[in-house]
């Protein structure tokens, strides 16, 4: 029972982080006048950070820097190699917050 409630709590935490990342991403795309924000529509957990917005490597890294500052964490660059979607990123952030 405790295990299940712990998992629910973790999922809730990740969902909360995911929502915050969505807002940060929308704000970043808007501030950088990214043309594909409107075309893409709603940002979801499955939104791919690179392919859905054709962000280049510089933009991804700049967004990561903003994310780090917003959550007051540091993200190891190696942790990003298998991070593709907003949901993936939420999991990475959750792990950093837990450390």
């Amino acid at each position: 029972m405790g295990f299940i409630s712990g998992r629910r709590s973790l999922n809730a935490q990740i969902n909360e982080i995911e929502n915050r990342i969505k807002r940060l991403l929308a704000s970043y795309l808007e501030s950088s006048n990214h043309p594909e924000l409107e075309a893409h529509g709603e940002i979801t957990g499955d939104t791919n950070l690179v392919s859905d917005f054709t962000l280049d490597s510089f933009q991804v890294m700049e967004f990561m820097m903003e994310l780090e500052e917003s959550f007051d964490i540091m993200i190891d660059m190696n942790a990003l190699s298998n991070t593709h979607t907003v949901r993936d990123l939420a999991v990475v952030v959750e792990q950093e917050l837990a450390d």
Binding site: F58, M61, I73, M74, M77, N78
Partner: protein, 397 residues
Amino acid sequence: MALLDKFLPAAAIREQLSAGGHDPTQVVMERIISPTEGIVEGRHTILAGTNNYLGLTFDPSCVAAARNAIESQGTGTTGSRMANGSFSAHAALEQELAGFYQVDHGMVFSTGYAANLGTLVALLKPGDAVLLDADAHASLYDGCLMSGADIYRFRHNDVASLEKRLERLGARAQDCLIVTEGLYSVLGDCAPLVDIVALRNKYGAMLLVDEAHSLGVYGDTGCGVAEAQGVMDQVDFFVGTFSKSLGAMGGFCVSQHPELDLIRYVSRPFIFTASSSPSIIASTHEALKQLKSRPELRESLWRNATRLYQGFNDLGFETGPEISPVVAIKLGAKEVALPFWNQLLEKGVYTNLMVPPASPDQHSYIRCSVSAAHSEEQVERIIEIFGSLRGLLQDDR
């Protein structure tokens, strides 16, 4: 076929870059006339993007040293440093470089890229932490990535951002490595090494400074930005290249730490690379002597850099934050920068085009590198040609 599909984005980039007439990444210099002039597509072209800061590529002493080395030692070493590729000249250059930086230990590598790769993969291991300036050169990124260490980037030249990360590292900070450059090669801005050294001392970290673009340019003796800012004795590792001010190719690392000599035993990019040919080592050694004995080269370099920087500013171009031999102008969108760069080439000035993601932000830049060998007339001609193209930017800026 799927294996090769990965090149489709590269093909699209090539098409985009070629749309203006010339692909900036594929310019062929048909003939090199001097350190500052060549023939491109049959045209006499002023070379303002070759990082030939001291103009030593045609220096008679350097050319003679290379020629003598070929005649006396042959064309190549045919091996790695650990096997059969260490000649006495390699060891002598290592000693000379270490002495130049007032430390006891030095290593030479076959390229500047290999120097950064070889040093970082040896210094760092999985579990270590490295704090890397966000605008650091690709070779520094690659060395950190290859090491398997935890990589945390700090905002470019932002001391507060660096300190925040050192604080977050807690006890790990005293075992971490801070990695910066002296002079950054796109915008021509220098690292605030005095402040960075203060953090190195406060947290007990180690500091590696890449002086690739600042060797021969900054400091009373030409060691680089750390010398100019008076903190040479508090830098743990200096890395640099022979392919800019020293006019050849290769790289080095020098250090006050005796452990540098042990890197030879553990650094795969060092162990498994053929060593530099004798002619390269000889011309580099001679160029280092010239660098040390002819401060007038730096005076000419700075005079030219100051004139070009001011000339661009007078024309209303947006330049980098400080005068340096790297003079870049911000052009905004790459759709503007690409035709601008093409026009420069067609009018006889070779420069470097920097477009995202290779530029340090979302803007495109035209980057010039100034040489001590540029004549006053050449510098004025560069300014004149840039001025003649000013109209191309009116709508974008």
